[in-house]
Subunit: 191 residues, 2 copies
Amino acid sequence: MELLKQNVAKHISLLPDEMERFCGPFILKEVKKKQFLLKAGEVCRFEAFVNKGCFKIFYLDTKGVEHILYFAVEDWWIGDIDSFTTQTPAQLYIEALEDSEIFFISKKDKEELYNNLPKVEKLFRIMGQKTCVALQRRMLSNLSKTADERYIEFITGYPKIAQRLTNLQIAAYLGISHEFLSKIRKKIAGK
Amino acid sequence: MELLKQNVAKHISLLPDEMERFCGPFILKEVKKKQFLLKAGEVCRFEAFVNKGCFKIFYLDTKGVEHILYFAVEDWWIGDIDSFTTQTPAQLYIEALEDSEIFFISKKDKEELYNNLPKVEKLFRIMGQKTCVALQRRMLSNLSKTADERYIEFITGYPKIAQRLTNLQIAAYLGISHEFLSKIRKKIAGK
DNA sequence: TTCATTTATTGAACTTGTTCAATTTTCCCT
DNA sequence: AGGGAAAATTGAACAAGTTCAATAAATGAA
């Protein structure tokens, strides 16, 4: 559980005893490639920390087109915060893109952590702030930049993640067709 | 400070004494129309609760085009969470669209609240979650819907706010030119 | 290794949204 | 109430991105 502990320590400082109590309710799970952790319509009763592997968190629109909200690799958290907090049916899918390992925590156990270990409130308050910042930046990037610029921003900002993804997946994240992404790549390569 | 107290009570329950201690550091400020609370380049040293009026929180891109991240009316919070938490120069502007009233709290006072009143961690943890949910929904809406659909979604989802805004502002929020918004409105009207 | 499936590329026609410029309408301001 | 500025509308030409269809390349399972 070293990676999880390091992740927590980035945001708050816990005593050794507190860290053990924090880690207690997390369960290691293996998730095979193409396996779903969540499908739209289900209620999300968990959150998880990615210890190994890669996931996509996406939305299927009314025409069946996939739109990727984010990719989660090692050291990222996954879950549908909307469904999880309100316990209503999810609109999102979470699918493993590689054979992966996660530390899984149930809604119930997470609530107990909040009650028993007050610093956990601070931890998730800070993590929530960082998520907001990331979403805001992505929103502004989508509002103000062309597809070419967003593609370059993505592959230079997250080169290691980009390498692990197909262009279909990157296009679904950037909000463009994969054919158009292919043309962008050609244009860039010719420079 | 009734509106602020009601807003807090929506998320957590505080004893009367705690509520008073929470409200203590907030200062009522009047903000005239067209006045800026924050400009890009400045460090955001405050957060505020809108008691009356309306604000736009926006980004100016490299070409000088304005992109609106959100509008804040009565019962909303404002601030640049990115600049505020990291104390680095803001990329955002916050400008009053009407004569307004806010309850203002400094970075320093907010940190003291976190230390002296542990429930405040929970309050802002929950508010952060809701902000994430809203940003996620907007992101997915922008990825999956046409400008027409987003316009209808906005004016039906926030009819009271929409009434108070110009079409220039709505276009800058939807991520389209105001000329195109004008054409969308014409098309819709002719139904 | 092979065969089937998925992914990537390309071109042509099309749709969505932009830009620029001109005109009209609305809104302030004193 | 009048005049000036900002906002809204409209049209025409243009650019960005999509769709469809066909082909090539890469991947993966038996």
